[in-house]
Every structure is written in C-alpha cells, then in structure tokens.
C-alpha cells in the first residue's frame, strides 16, 4: 500500500464509502423510472398486478435500503466506536497475500488496461475472426503480465487448438470468422 494512502481517524469515512449508498439509490431510481414506462397490455387480466409491479417494488426497496446505508454511514461518521474488521471471505484468492506491497494507483491502472484489453479482444473477435484475435490477445496479455515468449506461444497455441478441437470439430459450433471471413 502506498505510504501516501490517507489514514482515517476513528469514525471517519472516506468519500469512496459514500459511493456505494449513492450507487444503490441511483440504481433504484433508474429502475423505478424505467418501470413507470412499462405500459399495461390490452390482454392483461384485471386481477394481474402487471409487469411493472415487481419492478417498482424492488426498485423502491433498493432506494430505501440505499438510504438506510447512507444513514448508517452518517451515524458511523459521528460515532467514536471502533469499526469491526470485515469478515474473512471464502473467495479463493483473498487468502493469497502478496508479500511485496502494490501501489493502488498502479493496480488501478492495471485494471483499466486489463478491462480495455478484454473489450478490444471481444471487438476483435467479431471483426477479424476468433483465431487471429485470440492469438493476438494471448500474446499481448501474457507478455504484458511477464510470461516468457516460449510459454506465451505454447499456451496461446494450446488454447486455440483446444477450442478448435472441442468446439468446432467435436461439437460443430461455428466461431466468428470476422468481416473478411477468415477460415478460423
């Protein structure tokens, strides 16, 4: 963790913690507004609550719970009581701690690059075909994560070969060939 990371006094909350209650209130409001545009069908039974009922109910519930979270956060920010540590998650990778501390800014940049790479890969699959896009993605992703050339080429070709054998040959599923109709 960066030494510049802000340290919070007991009871103080960071701005990012407000992000979550606001997120839920916005989500609930958005779904509620969307539910108001759902029209009543002509064939709808008069005793049928309609397609909008559950949507509005859930949206209102989300808004209320989001406000509840915000109120709790506000109360906590005024409280001097110590916070409880979060419970241990059962997710497999949360048990693995890097011994070398990672800069959060660098980590976030990695995430943005990773997400962008995946998005470009998906676009490329449908533009230039699965084979070429996957070959390129495999090399770019593994090399950027520090894998050796030998392992990168071996793993990428193994993945493509496995997908070809299983999906195309064995199951007869056609994969995208792109705009220029590459063979694979």
């Amino acid at each position: 963790m960066s030494t510049d990371a802000p340290k919070h006094a007991l009871g103080e909350t960071s701005i990012s913690q407000w992000l979550f209650p606001v997120f839920w209130i916005l989500v609930g409001s958005g779904f509620y507004l969307g539910a108001t545009t759902i029209t009543t069908a002509i064939v709808q039974d008069k005793h049928d609550p309609g397609p909008a009922a559950i949507c509005m109910l859930c949206a209102v519930a989300i808004i209320i719970l989001g406000i509840t979270q915000a109120v709790q956060l506000l109360l906590a920010s005024r409280s001097a009581r110590p916070t409880l540590p979060p419970p241990a998650t059962t997710h497999s990778d949360d048990s693995q701690q890097s011994r070398v501390i990672q800069d959060p800014t660098l980590a976030l940049r990695q995430v943005f690059l990773g997400v962008a790479t995946i998005a470009v890969y998906i676009l490329a699959v449908f533009q230039i075909g699965f084979g070429l896009a996957t070959f390129t993605f495999g090399i770019v992703s593994m090399k950027s994560l520090g894998v050796s050339w030998r392992n990168t080429l071996l793993a990428t070709t193994t993945c493509i070969a496995t997908v070809y054998l299983v999906f195309i040959e064995l199951l007869g599923i056609l994969l995208p060939t792109g705009r220029w109709d590459f063979p694979f």
């Binding site: 009543t40 069908a41 719970l65 011994r99 894998v147």
Partner: protein
C-alpha cells in the same frame, strides 16, 4: 470429470465456473451425456479445489478454503499426498451419503409437491430467496439483500412472459429474451475473477509458495485415520446435507459450518490444534462439501429452486435438456437417471481424483498469468457458443465489470444469482395466484403449507435481524469497508 479436476484444481477457477463453462459444451450432446458431464464436473471440481489448497495454500474453489489451513500445515510436515488421499476418500464418502439422502428424501418430497399450487410455490421461492440472502451474506446482510433485489430487477429485463410488454429494453431488440443467464454467470465468476487478479498482480513479487512434496499416499494409515474419525465424518455429512439443501447456501458455507462444528465438538486439547495441522480440520470440511453438493439437488429437482450457484446454473440449462423439475421428474423416471449418475460420479471420483493429484499437480506450476488469459479466452467462447450471439459476449463482459464492482464493496454474489433465478419465479407464481384467486391475496394464507412456509419466512427474517443486531457493535459493521 477430467475437466472438473482441471478447473477445480486451478486457483481462481471455481466449481461454479467449471459448470458454467462446460454447459455450452453439452448443448450438442444427448441429454443423458450432457447431464452426466455437468454432474461429474460439479462433484469433481469441489474436491479438486483441495489440491492447490494443500500444496500451495491457495484454495482452488471457495469450498476448499475451510480445509486450507490444516491441509497445508500437514503438507509442510511431509504428508501432502496422504492429506489429499484422505480428502479424496472423505469427499467420496460425503458424496455417496449425500446422494443416498437425496435418493431417499427427494421422491417423498415429490409427493408433497403435488399439493403445491401457485401461492405455495410463491412462498417457497420467496423463502428460498430470503434464506439465500440470510445464509450467504454473513455480516453483510444489507448488501446481500440489495444484491438479491438487483438480481430480480436484472432478470426482469426483456419481454414480460405473461403480457409480452417490454421491460427495460430501451429499443434494444437483442434484449427481448432478457439477459442471458449463462453468459452473465460466466462474467460474474470468470471475467470478474480475472480482473480482480489483474488488480492484485504485482510484477515485483517473484515469491512462489509451491511445496515440493515427495511423500507417499500411506494408504493403510489413511484408512485408519478415516476409521478413527467416523463420528466427525457422519456429523459433517449431516451438516453438509442440511446446509447444502438450503437454497443459496452452497458447499463453501457447508464446509465452514462443518469445520466450526467439528471444532466446537472436539476435546479442548484437540481444539487448540485446529489450524496447526489436525486431521479433523481436513476431514470435516471435505466430507461436508460434497454432501452439500448432493443436497443442493433436493430443492432443485423437487421444486425447481436451486440449492446453490451450481444447481442454479444447471437449472437454467435444464430447459435446453428438456428436463422440467418437479413431481413429474420422479414419476417418469427422469430423476432415477440423475441419482444413478450422481452415485457413479462418487465412485469414479476416487480414480479420477488420484489421477488429478498426480497429473494436475504439474499444471499448478504454470504461471498464473497463463491461467488468467486462458480463462478470458474460454469465457468468450463459452458465452458466444450458447446462442452464437455477439450480444451475449457483451453481457458476459458487463457482468464481469459488475462482479468486480460488487465484490470490491464486499457484496456477496450468491444473492444476486438467486435473485436472477428465483425473482422471475416469485413474480410468475404471485401473478398466477392473484389471477386464479381473482385478486384475493388472502388466498395465499389458506392452506397449511401456505401458513408453514409463511411462518418459516417470518421466522427466518426475524432471526436474521435479531442475529445481526446482536452481532453488530457499530452501524459501520453493516457497511463494506475499504
């Protein structure tokens, strides 16, 4: 089963992901072969998570997390292979007993299901959704409840089944059939895990935690240890079956529950050894998790209510296999095939598991970065293969981002999945009930089954609130922390 061993033993890939990835492969197979593939993968992936948990202290699946502490300590003492053999045998025993319970109780429950009408199913699905939120959310019940509601709303996208009115489509015709469930699951579990791993990736961290293990299986000694811990196995199987049968609970919660109960019921001297490398610490969770996998099929087969995330995904695929859960499944013999496959899987688990221990230990030596890139590739292919639809791949991507965001805020994903599966059912049965009763909601409280289910729902909610209030010492404990 080989695929299940492969995925389960790879850190970062879960049993749920294994099932989600294998389902597209099963579409072109005969129904029986497809079922056998899916059931085989789900059971073997749960066990296979113990392999890296033992050698690398990295659980291969969340269900293996409970066994990691003691298993790795035992491996450090040079008993790695023996630990895995005991894990394997306990998993098989737990699975066999779990399937036997499934075989004996499911047909009886099927007769009861004939008494269910719309409102009974409504209460049952609502109870399932509530239980899933309360059991799986731990200290974050508020977040879990929010996730469940979000899941219900996401499942409502598309044309309404009853009236065909558009909901949240915004003119996008590809959304007419709603958000495809399998790509959503692949995104939530596969792509989100990759993105999280990229966040944690540190190029300067060259440390490895692999353990060179040259021990042998010590078969005779292992069998003696298992015999000596029979009460623990029995207790853990019951725990796993009870928890696994609760919609939304899953094998990971069952494993931790069994670990905790084994700890509490042990002698004082043994309790101090938990976490230091004690056989009970390995036997209890591994017996429970496979029993839980079997038990999760009870509500799934009888009522169509998934017991865990794996059965939730499989129920979604049942439509493709032309299988309808419910009493008819038992009267036409369809369930017998499922029981047979599940039992055979437990028996085949032993040779498959041994092969996995020997062979896929080598795979763990591959760089994690290779695994991450491979997951992305197979996720894209898996999402596309379902409907040969580009939009499904983007749904997978979107849910991947959603999964990352929610998990960063410690929001459990199980309630979200349950909301997506059970939300449409809750709505459908409620609307059917209201139409059948001509708008009289009091009809939902008329039969004994209605009252029992409603009372269970109220008790569940009240107990959950009471436990949360008692446990929390500050309001911030209900909020995700940095």
């Amino acid at each position: 089963m080989t695929f299940g061993i492969f995925v389960g033993s790879t850190p970062g890939l879960t049993a749920t992901m294994a099932v989600a990835l294998v389902i597209p492969l099963s579409y072109n197979l005969p129904k029986e072969a497809a079922l056998a593939m899916v059931i085989g993968v789900s059971f073997t992936a749960i066990f296979a998570g113990d392999i890296p948990a033992t050698f690398l202290r990295i659980p291969g699946t969340p269900a293996s997390a409970a066994a990691t502490l003691d298993a790795h300590q035992l491996a450090k003492k040079g008993k790695g292979k023996q630990t895995l053999l005991i894990n394997l045998l306990c998993s098989a025993i737990g699975g066999v007993l779990g399937v036997l319970i499934l075989m004996t109780t499911a047909p009886q429950l099927a007769k009861l299901a004939l008494l269910f009408s719309s409102f009974e199913y409504f209460w049952l699905c609502l109870l399932g959704l509530t239980l899933g939120v309360t059991v799986s959310s731990g200290n974050y019940k508020l977040s879990g409840t929010l996730a469940a509601f979000l899941g219900v709303l996401l499942a409502s996208v598309g044309n309404d089944v009853t009236t065909f009115q558009e909901r949240y489509m915004f003119g996008v015709s590809e959304l007419s059939t709603g958000l495809s469930f399998i790509p959503a699951m692949i995104g939530l579990f596969g792509v989100s895990e990759v993105i999280r791993a990229v966040y944690r990736y540190n190029p300067r961290d060259k440390t490895t935690s692999s353990l060179q293990d040259n021990s042998s299986f010590e078969v005779k000694d292992s069998l003696k240890i298992i015999a000596a811990n029979t009460p623990t196995i029995a207790q853990s199987v019951v725990t796993g079956t009870v928890i696994g049968g609760l919609p939304g609970a899953g094998a990971d919660i069952a494993a931790w529950g069994a670990y905790g109960i084994a700890h509490k019921t042990s002698k004082r001297a043994e309790q101090l050894k938990f976490g230091q490398g004690i056989w009970k610490g390995v036997i209890a969770p591994t017996s429970a998790n496979n029993a839980a996998v079997a038990a999760a099929w009870i509500p799934a087969l009888v009522f169509g209510v998934p017991g865990d995330a794996v059965t939730a995904i499989v129920l979604g695929a049942f439509l493709t296999y032309d299988i309808t859960p419910g009493p008819e499944l038992f009267s036409n013999g369809g369930a017998d095939f499922i029981f047979a496959i599940a039992m055979i899987t437990q028996l085949l688990l032993i040779p498959a598991g041994l092969a996995g221990i020997l062979l896929f230990g080598k795979f763990m030596k591959l760089p994690r970065e290779v695994v991450l890139s491979s997951v992305v590739i197979f996720s894209v292919v898996g999402a596309y293969a379902m409907n040969n639809n580009q939009f499904d791949v983007w749904i997978m991507f979107g849910f991947g981002l959603l999964g990352v965001f929610l998990e960063s805020r410690k929001v459990p994903l199980a309630p979200l999945i349950l909301g997506m599966i059970l939300g449409p059912k809750v709505e459908m049965y409620f609307r059917q009930g209201m139409i059948a009763s001509q708008g009289d909601f009091s009809s939902a409280f008329q039969s004994t089954i209605d009252l029992v289910l409603f009372s269970s729902l109220v008790i569940c909610i009240l107990l959950s609130i009471a436990m949360t209030l008692r446990r929390s010492t500050t309001p911030l404990s209900l909020l995700p922390t940095e």
